[in-house]
Amino acid sequence: MSRLLTYLFGRLPIGWLQLTHSRGRFFAAVAGVAFANLLVFMQLGIMGALNSSTVAPYAILNADIILSSEDGNTLTDGGHIPRARMFQALGVAGVTDATPLFIGNLPFTLEDGSSVSLLSFGMDIAKPDFTAPVIAPALERLSLENTALLDKGTRGMPTAVIDALTDGERFSFETGGDTLTAIGTMDIGGGFLADGMMMMSDQTFLRVFPARSSGAPNHILLRTGEGIAIDTVVKRLETTLPRGNLRIQSMTSSAANDLAYMSTERPTGIIFGFGVFMGILVGLVIVYQVLSTDVADHLREYATFKAMGYGQSFFLGIIFEEAIILAVFGFIPGFIVSVGLYAALVSVTGLPVEMETGRAILVFLGTLAACSISGAIATRRLVHADPADLF
């Protein structure tokens, strides 16, 4: 290893030799960096799952503009808006089609007595264009009374049920006095919002949510004609529609706003952001501690090198070499353990926690940067290496 590094650097790998000379300290430092990496990966993983489950419902919809009530922060909360807005919107130039969207949380009890909540979407099945292409073909089957498509990833749902559904069988369950029959599946996955999702016709929706009325959907989805900028239509709608308690957004900005809200205004988002910050801080402190102790322990040797004519850049080189070695050796185990823990999290919680390449690269670069910053601070101790004290 040291020969290889000598060849690579064109000089002796002092940093490497120095770090590995005190094994105990080296392993402690690597473990520290690995732990900091693990912390950051776990926080980012859960935050990523939070984000993807926030925007997951958008994946089953297919529209250009969404009208919502102003008191809602995300797609799945907030009040209703008058269906009359739909007809008014259809009168605006550029709007080609519109449909109401009903959303509700449906709790029900499984056979084993545990209860799950299903985020239920009620839509006009005569307008399959407003759902994602993977769902649209199944939509007409929902014209049967009290039928629904069930999310494959629903937490707590026996796999036997899901498998049977996929094979074309049916599965009925009681909810608030009604019997609902799942006749197919869709693949969305549970998240932070609910244990799973369900798609049904607006008729069925109004039956299982008797308190809701057809005149007051949660949202109204709009499509715009080709060749017209969506933003232009949004502006027109803003000037035309009555503004009381109505928010008009393109679908993309609606999703982006939901994300921003969840990650910066909700306590969960803030807590995970804080966790990432703590992880970085832990890493910084550990690496600084190790590197500055290392500098302090070698002051005499450094002073000797100074006397021999080595300049400041040589010493900076050693410390950055150490910082990079710690970053690389800490990242590898941190990454591997994180991948394992992600898998464990997925199987226990069903949350969509995934190791994305971009995230891995980002964390690695962050580790390099954090280690270098710690190294840069640790070099301040170098001024104490005075060769005149050697004699």
Partner: protein
Amino acid sequence: MTDAPISTQNLDHFFGTGDARKQALFDINLEIKRGSLTVLMGPSGSGKTTLLTLIGCLREVRDGDVRVLGHDLNGASETVLVGLRRRLGFIFQAHNLHESLTATQNVLMGLQVHGNTDVIKARHAAHHILDLLGLADRRNYLPGNLSGGQKQRVAVARALVSNPEIILADEPTAALDKEAGHTVVQMLKSLGSTRGTTTVMVTHDPRILEMADRIISLEDGRVVSDTLQSANQPNRPQLKV
């Protein structure tokens, strides 16, 4: 102007400031000839080390001047000082070897400072000088596994490997046994006659005094005697007291 590798002009040196200000050197005027072995002697606290560190560009020259290898040290920039240090070889009283480098690697550090990137050649040179100093079978030992005398010899090898023009040594033979001490001084002497390497050494070792070309005694920061030993003097140095 002089072509002597080392010369001092009206050199004073003070430590501390205010009431604690203490003068360690008084009006030192020396000229040391190329290729000579000069010994500095004197009681403890007489300023030998101070003079050596001033010549070695390790301490700032403020009053009077020191000229080393054609550069005035008074007011010299850090770049000039670092450049000069590379042309000097230091042998410290304590060996100051790097504990995580092997004997060979420690010696290589003396070469690397010159930007020498031919790793194989450098390794050869390091092995050669370690062999000369009787450390052939200790090349790959870490300092922790070497005796005091062996460590000191590695430090000598590190100072000599890059063929410095001047060697500054502060009691280098204290940790060496008789034979090793003799080998080291013999090496310094022969470097003096073959390459013109100039050596200034602080020592009280009578065996070395015998071999010196010139003996300068300091007392309370002043030169009190300056003797040429002509028996050892192939070409007489100029004397200027």
